[in-house]
């Protein structure tokens, strides 16, 4: 076991345990907080994978914005907040079985691929992934169009969400 394998395993356990708590805990605010823990574990993975920009963005966007939005939404729909009773369907075992089956299938497929236990190549010297990402995002032969499209998507989401949440205002 090398040190980075140990760090990976710790964060994997953090992610999976928190994800399980997200889907089984009864209290919705707790579920949102467990989601924060799971997403933080994913940020650790990004850091291990040398994607430092994504690791920080994961914390800023998910923990700083999306988790806050979730907590606000839970507070706005208060009636369910008190509802400490069961939050899962009566026949919850069908999705559970489905999940286990899909996981088994995926694991079978993944482990059957050739060369899947390869280790990461070294990042070529002189490649600054941060600047390369910036160049790729705005250069026309890179991903300029998806970049602008993302901005239009977010604009549409903002307009739509504001309209739906507040409704027609005289």
């Amino acid at each position: 076991m090398t040190p980075d394998q140990i760090i990976f395993l710790i964060s994997a356990v953090l992610i999976l345990v928190s994800a399980l708590m997200v889907v089984i805990t009864h209290n919705l605010v707790h579920a949102a907080l467990w989601l924060v823990a799971a997403l933080f574990g994913v940020a650790v993975l990004f850091a291990i994978l040398n994607a430092s920009f994504l690791a920080v963005v994961q914390v800023v966007v998910y923990i700083g914005a999306i988790a806050v939005l979730f907590v606000f939404a839970v507070m706005l729909t208060r009636k369910e907040l008190r509802d400490r009773g069961t939050q899962t369907r009566a026949n919850w075992w069908i999705p559970a079985l489905l999940g286990v089956l899909i996981l088994a299938g995926l694991a079978y497929l993944i482990l059957g691929q050739p060369d899947v236990s390869r280790t990461a190549p070294a990042i070529p010297a002189g490649v600054d992934t941060l600047r390369a990402l910036g160049t790729a995002l705005v250069s026309p032969d890179g991903y300029a169009l998806p970049f602008e499209a993302a901005s239009v998507l977010l604009l549409a989401a903002l307009v739509g969400a504001v309209y739906v949440a507040v409704g027609r205002k005289s």
């Binding site: 980075d4 997200v22 889907v23 993975l45 994978l49 939005l69 979730f70 995926l106 890179g142 991903y143």
Partner: protein, 103 residues
């Protein structure tokens, strides 16, 4: 970097399946959205792991992950707005009771 690629893929698959379970088994619409967030993150782990393990000098994986971030933000914004709107009109956020479109 002595972690095999398969570890990331298995972890992402497990996270995806947990998210799927959450989406299918939860009654509360907000909890369903929480499950969707988990599934999107599983996708992101895969994208970044492939970027790192296949060709780190091409940024496609990271750009995709960024687009997924934007999509996740848009999805949460609209999804929660819909839930709040439904809650206002029908004062429930249980997915089973929001069945007007079923008939």
């Amino acid at each position: 970097m002595s972690i095999p690629l398969s570890w990331y893929l298995i972890l992402a698959a497990a996270l995806f399946c947990i998210g799927l379970f959450g989406v299918l088994s939860r009654k509360n619409a907000i909890a369903i959205l929480l499950g969707i967030e988990l599934m999107l993150n599983a996708v992101n782990i895969n994208l970044v792991a492939f970027w790192r393990y296949l060709d780190p000098s091409r940024m496609a994986g990271q750009v995709f992950a960024i687009i997924v971030f934007a999509t996740a933000a848009a999805e949460v914004a609209v999804g929660l707005a819909l839930i709040i709107s439904v809650y206002r009109r029908r004062s429930t956020i249980l997915a089973d009771e929001i069945d007007l479109m079923k008939w």
